[in-house]
């Protein structure tokens, strides 16, 4: 009689279980040791504002929604039927993996006290040691420190999830998990530190990134490009392409992304105040305009406004307004929205086919390029009328454009190069690319032994 599961891997399983228990025990011991010392040294903490806290916690939940089911459905609907589960699984599992990574060391590396040179935080916040119910002196200091950590966790989760778009339909699951963990630690955490920690060198230089144009979108976009180039094209690309198998999914996903993005952008004010409302407004206006612009581009050059075009335009708009949301006024949002409907459209429809690389779901074309457009335009349109921290070229600070450019260029190079290195390393440990048979049969069956839509029963 066949066994339901194989007992071949049981010894390895128990070894892993014991190792995890050991790590957890050590981690909790470390946290307990340091906590009394931290409590003794802390000065009187700022007061917790209930409105701010409510908004930050809600925003964290909204950004969570962006990854699952927002991005999951958006990407899932765009791939072929035989690969939809693999994409959904990748997005869902990233949530799980990065949550743990963030709690263990990610938050500390990104937002902990500087380890030196403004490059990365130290490990004093590892295992949430020192991250408790009292506010941090600087980060969202009217909300519990935990709230800020959770809000940032959701950003750390969605950034690697964006890269899924580049290697959809051809990456094996187990190497994928390893790659995501390494990428979060080695690429996301430092870049986050550079831009958003006050000790980070890009922050010190004065580059502006309200909600993650550089940290999230350009970062993920360049990593996506690296993955697309390293893994190579799907079989049959570009001659035999398959249309999206479920555009309704993709639209629902895009709408959920838009909804969640209010937490992403307006939530980055980390306060329930006027700036949050302003960021909400710019997000909404830029996105709507970007979708309309993309529809117009489709109508003019292809003959019809398409559903796929409109939702892609909306996502491009969301991406582009991200670095600028809390720095620009209505007119900045208008220009950014229109630019986001034009530049990524050209990238995706004209440049990508000419260059011939296979970025399955346009993670680089939309997120990377859209992020660059937004980050550069932030350097032009930031106005201190909206946010006293930001001033752009059109409002009297021409250096801002150069500062933006520097931040963009450094992030692009770092993300691309280090991602490539990680891909090479992971590929040596376990092969990343699904082989021809796995790709033909579909990743759902080959990686997970599951079918998304059973036809008979």
């Amino acid at each position: 009689m066949p066994r339901f599961f194989s007992t071949k891997r049981l010894p390895a399983f128990f070894a892993l279980l014991i190792a995890c228990c050991a790590v957890l025990w050590a981690g909790s011991a470390l946290a307990e040791e340091a906590a009394p010392a931290a409590a003794a040294a802390a000065p009187a903490a700022p007061a917790v504002n209930s409105g701010d806290t409510a908004w930050v916690l809600t925003s964290a939940a909204l950004v969570f929604l962006m990854t699952v089911p927002g991005l999951a459905l958006f990407y899932g609907g765009l791939v072929r039927k035989k690969n939809v589960l693999s994409v959904l699984m990748q997005c869902f599992f990233i949530v799980c993996l990065v949550t743990i990574e963030w709690v263990v060391l990610g938050y500390s590396m990104a937002f902990g006290p500087d380890a030196g040179g403004g490059l990365v935080g130290n490990l004093s916040y590892a295992f949430l040691n020192g991250v408790g119910q009292t506010p941090h002196a600087v980060y969202a200091n009217t909300t519990p420190h935990l709230a800020f950590m959770l809000f940032q966790m959701m950003f750390a989760i969605i950034t690697p999830a964006l890269i899924v778009g580049a290697f959809a339909e051809r990456m094996r699951f187990v190497p994928f998990c390893l790659f995501i963990l390494l990428w979060s630690v080695v690429v996301y955490n430092p870049v986050c530190h550079w831009v958003w920690s006050p000790d980070g060198f890009l922050c010190k230089w004065g580059s502006l990134d309200f909600a993650g144009g550089t940290v999230v979108h350009i970062n993920a976009g360049m990593a996506a490009l690296a993955c697309a180039l390293f893994l190579g094209k799907r079989k049959g690309y570009p001659d035999r392409m398959s249309p999206p198998h479920n555009l309704p999914f993709a639209l629902i996903g895009a709408a959920l992304l838009w909804f969640g993005w209010f937490g992403f952008n307006a939530g980055s004010a980390v306060a329930a105040n006027g700036l949050a409302a302003s960021a909400f407004m710019t997000t909404q206006v830029a996105t709507a305009l970007a979708a309309i612009t993309w529809a117009l581009m489709d109508f003019i050059f292809v003959g019809r406004a398409t559903v796929l075009g409109v939702i892609t335009g909306a996502v491009a708009g969301l991406v582009a307004i991200t670095p600028a949301a809390g720095f620009v006024n209505l007119w900045g949002a208008v220009f950014i929205g229109i630019a986001a409907g034009i530049v990524p459209w050209i990238m995706v429809s004209i440049i990508k086919p000419k260059l011939g690389y296979d970025d399955s779901l346009d993670a680089f074309g939309v997120h990377g390029v859209g992020g660059m457009v937004g980050a550069l335009l932030t350097g032009l349109f930031a106005t201190s009328d909206v946010n006293s921290l930001g001033q752009g070229l059109f409002y009297g600070k021409p250096e801002q454009l150069w500062l933006q450019f520097e931040a963009i260029a450094i992030t692009m190079i770092y993300s691309f190069v280090v991602t490539l290195v990680l891909l090479v390393i992971v590929n040596v440990i376990c092969k990343l690319r699904a082989d021809e048979h796995e790709e033909t049969v579909g990743l759902d069956l080959s990686q997970h032994r599951e079918t998304a839509y059973t036809v008979i029963n």
């Binding site: 570009p238 392409m241 249309p243 292809v302 003959g303 019809r304 796929l308 995706v348 429809s349 086919p353």
Partner: protein, 113 residues
């Protein structure tokens, strides 16, 4: 005994089934298929990548009938599935060698009577 395969427009399915019921032809298997004749399909566009249309949705009916009912069936389908436009479909008539009803074991004319 004959096996009749009819490819018709999806929007004509209900009319054809009603007419077949009227004519006392109850046994039918229906499936959704894709196909083309000499007309081309509607091309789809995906991120500005244009596909040339080639296949259209159709409905396939498969009916096993005794010889007396062949002409009735063909006429029933022909009249209700007609619209005068390109893409109305086709009817194929094949010889049927053997039929068996699984529940009772009947064979031949009784199985599809």
């Amino acid at each position: 005994m004959r096996y009749i395969i009819a490819i018709i427009q999806p929007n004509k399915l209900n009319d054809v089934l009603d007419k077949l019921e009227q004519k006392e032809i109850h046994l039918v298997t229906v499936s959704e298929v894709m196909g083309r004749g000499r007309q081309k399909g509607v091309g789809e566009v995906y991120r500005s990548h244009k596909e040339n249309g080639s296949l259209l949705r159709k409905v396939k009916l498969e009916i096993a009938v005794n010889d007396e009912f062949v002409q009735t069936t063909i006429n029933a389908i022909k009249e209700t599935a007609y619209s005068g436009n390109v893409g109305d479909g086709k009817i194929f008539v094949l010889d049927l060698q053997e039929v068996l009803r699984i529940r009772t074991g009947d064979t031949g004319k009784n199985a599809i009577g």
